[in-house]
């Protein structure tokens, strides 16, 4: 094991310069002036953005609002296996399953209702990790507004993918 090497960071007061404020004040002003001039004339190293006109580009892994993906015929890929519900640390997913009447094989399940309470959800992505059918993925949409608590509980209608999957502003999903 390496010996613990320490570095002492004590800074005793030094000299007259510190005592009469002047040195440190000039040094401090130089720092702020440098920032000011660089942002005003030169390279614009400004951290703020003009939200909402300008939005920050998030990565492909951004965990936002959920999407229930569909098969080519427009039906849900979800087979109501309850994996996401079990894995959810916030207990915000509620699934009610029934037998699929149009199934081509016997005993195929599908969700009658699939509800996510977006106010309870912590957006950890564990449901996406748990899904064995890639039926649940996340988009990058993270700014939503509700006026009541009931409105925040979204069902299949709100969650179902609308349009082709490529156009869905996809965020966190498997294959990463």
């Amino acid at each position: 094991m390496r010996p613990v090497t320490t570095v002492n960071v004590d800074r005793p007061r030094r000299g007259l310069g510190e005592w009469i404020y002047l040195g440190p004040i000039v040094k401090g002003l130089a720092v702020t002036l440098r920032h000011f001039l660089r942002n005003f004339f030169g390279q614009r190293d400004v951290a703020t953005i003009q939200y909402p006109e300008e939005v920050r580009q998030y990565s492909e892994r951004m965990r936002g609002r959920h999407i229930l993906t569909t098969k080519e015929d427009g039906s849900l890929r979800c087979v109501a296996c309850y994996m996401c519900e079990t894995a959810c640390p916030a207990d915000c997913i509620t699934i009610v399953a029934e037998e699929d009447p149009e199934a081509t094989v016997e005993w195929e399940k599908l969700p009658v209702s699939f509800e996510i309470d977006l106010l309870r959800c912590v957006f950890c992505g564990f449901c996406v990790d748990a899904c064995p059918k890639q039926a649940l993925v996340m988009s990058r949409k993270h700014d939503f507004v509700f006026t009541t608590r009931e409105e925040a509980i979204v069902g299949i209608d709100e969650l179902k993918q609308k349009g082709p999957i490529e156009e869905q502003d996809l965020g966190y999903r498997p294959y990463y």
Partner: protein
């Protein structure tokens, strides 16, 4: 129920120094702790010997907690975790007690650190500590019924608190004749911009000077430990993000390391190095928030912006790895959730060049400024002995001159291979804490630089499917992987029965996880040792003789994070 897998073959080297050890059970636990099981009548004698005998020299009380075993003859167990900074050994003292008389003598007279930890044990487990000076509830409201962490307390139970009564300390109403000045009581918080979190301070002022203070916490209490008991081992990771939310990566890594230790597995080398890199970045962020807030509180706002700019950039790196900015949930038991993005190395190198100039700017702007020094020097000073007695760890302890850093004292994640210095100061005041944190940011950058230069290839998560989910491509195509996937989600990770305490160096100090497993898929008991809980209990005592604005300067320099304080 068995609670540990002891190494009984070799006699414990410390046993002979413990008084009456012939008839005590002293073993070496699997996590390296010397484990002493003692009856409560002999507890104080053993604890005193542990502190006072030079061969034992346990000067730091890390944690006190209670565990409930309804199936055992003696239902409750109080567990003390101790360590000796000089000798490096760690000791766990277990005290089994009966259900009908759940009381033990207090350890407050030996280590002041026991103060709040014992109150917490009383609050959540219902164990009384005889002789404790102020045994009130601490995390829950005074009107709370029952003790939430007992196994017979239903986690689904909800009830509405109707009493509006707020806590008023006894001394508020006491008449004090000696004070000739006007005495008044002021209340700071729980919702106050300077408390940086929901906590409340009641202070008695004599003129402008604080003569007595007391803190009330628990406003952010969500009984994270009870929640963990109803969910699988893996699902606790998002909860840990919410402990110290300024450096969520460190919490997740610490928890994953503790569970990995119990499982007897190790994350692949690449995952370990990535964990080091992201943990050190998180440490930089945490210190940036703390210093930024400290400086705002003493009137230097610009620095806050200088620090938040690199912080946003680090969040962007974390988000491109994990998908979340503040609560990352990136660690997994056995490694990391995903491979890092393709441009990870470039991003890290960019940050390595980007961050130092902001640290230097702040350094130039305020470190030698006489106003700042006047506001912080000698303010909230504490001696090394007092800091240790209160259970302080981390930058606040190092500011008192004790070079205790777990990354050096008990290296994990390969920290022994990195070259870095532990910054220490000697005065122990707010200014010293500022200087230590500033230097720690530079040292963290040094660690990251070495880590990124030696980033190994390979997987980022173990292929042991008892612990980690199989890759999705296999789940979709292979039966066996699908079965593992189902078993892991439905049954959870089967952690072998036993207990372990594993600590990592959090941004505030020693972040310990004491885990108890009964062999099932859910944790039997999780106890977190939050570093700022121990630090904050000394805060009212630091205030004596200070002014109210100084109280604010001290509070922010301690870096109290309510998410971790209240759990």
């Amino acid at each position: 129920m068995t609670v540990s897998s002891p190494d009984t073959a070799t006699p414990n080297p410390l046993a002979r120094f413990i008084p009456g050890s012939q008839d005590l059970k002293v073993i070496t636990a699997s996590d390296g702790f010397t484990e002493i099981t003692v009856d409560r009548s002999r507890l104080i004698g053993v604890l005193r010997a542990l502190r006072d005998r030079p061969e034992l020299d346990c000067n730091l009380l890390l944690d006190v907690c209670g565990v409930d075993y309804p199936m055992n003859e003696q239902r409750f167990e109080v567990v003390y975790h101790l360590t000796s900074l000089a000798k490096g050994h760690r000791v766990r003292v277990r005290v089994p007690i009966d259900e009908d008389d759940p009381r033990v003598p207090t350890a407050y007279g030996i280590w002041k650190a026991a103060d709040w930890f014992e109150r917490e044990t009383w609050d959540l487990m219902g164990i009384r500590f005889d002789g404790h000076p102020n045994l009130r509830r601490i995390l829950t409201h005074e009107a709370f019924q029952g003790h939430a962490l007992r196994k017979d307390y239903d986690p689904e139970k909800r009830w509405v608190l109707t009493e509006a009564e707020t806590f008023v300390p006894d001394w508020v109403t006491e008449a004090d004749d000696e004070e000739d000045f006007e005495t008044q009581i002021i209340n700071i918080g729980p919702s106050h911009p300077a408390t940086h979190g929901t906590l409340r301070i009641v202070a008695r002022l004599d003129g402008e000077v604080i003569t007595r203070a007391e803190c009330e916490i628990g406003y952010l209490h969500r009984c994270f430990e009870k929640m963990s008991e109803t969910h699988g081992w893996a699902e606790v990771i998002p909860y840990t993000d919410r402990l110290n939310y300024c450096s969520s990566m460190i919490n997740g890594v610490g928890y994953a390391l503790a569970v990995e230790h119990m499982l007897g597995i190790e994350a692949p080398p690449r995952a370990q190095v990535v964990r080091v890199i992201l943990s050190e970045f998180s440490r930089i962020m945490d210190h940036a928030v703390c210093l930024g807030a400290t400086l705002v509180d003493v009137g230097a706002l610009t620095n806050f912006w200088y620090f938040f700019q690199p912080r946003e950039e680090i969040y962007t790196l974390l988000e491109s790895c994990a998908g979340g900015r503040l609560t990352v949930s990136y660690a997994r038991i056995g490694g990391l959730a995903h491979e890092v993005p393709a441009d990870f190395e470039d991003q890290v190198r960019y940050l390595l060049g980007y961050i130092p100039k902001f640290v230097d700017d702040v350094d130039k702007l305020v470190s030698t400024n006489r106003i700042f020094r006047g506001r912080t020097e000698g303010i909230g000073a504490i001696s090394a002995e007092d800091a240790l007695a209160w259970g302080w760890t981390g930058p606040c302890l190092r500011a008192c001159g004790v070079p205790y850093d777990l990354r050096r004292a008990r290296p994990y994640l390969g920290y022994e291979n990195y070259d870095f210095d532990v910054p220490v100061a000697s005065t122990g005041d707010s200014y010293a804490r500022y200087l230590v944190r500033l230097e720690e940011m530079r040292q963290s950058l040094r660690i990251i630089e070495q880590a990124i230069d030696n980033l190994p290839g390979g997987p980022v998560i173990t292929d042991n499917h008892h612990a980690a989910l199989p890759p999705k491509s296999k789940v979709y195509s292979e039966m066996e992987a699908l079965i593992w996937h189902f078993k892991l989600i439905y049954e959870g990770i089967k952690v072998p029965a036993g207990s372990a305490y594993l600590a990592t160096e959090g941004a505030n100090g020693e972040l310990g996880y004491y885990l108890v497993s009964d062999g099932g898929g859910k944790p039997y008991r999780i106890k977190v040792r939050p570093p700022c809980f121990a630090i904050f209990q000394a805060y009212p005592h630091l205030l004596d003789g200070h002014l109210v604005p100084d109280a604010i300067a001290i509070l922010s320099s301690l870096n109290i994070i309510a998410g971790e304080l209240d759990r």
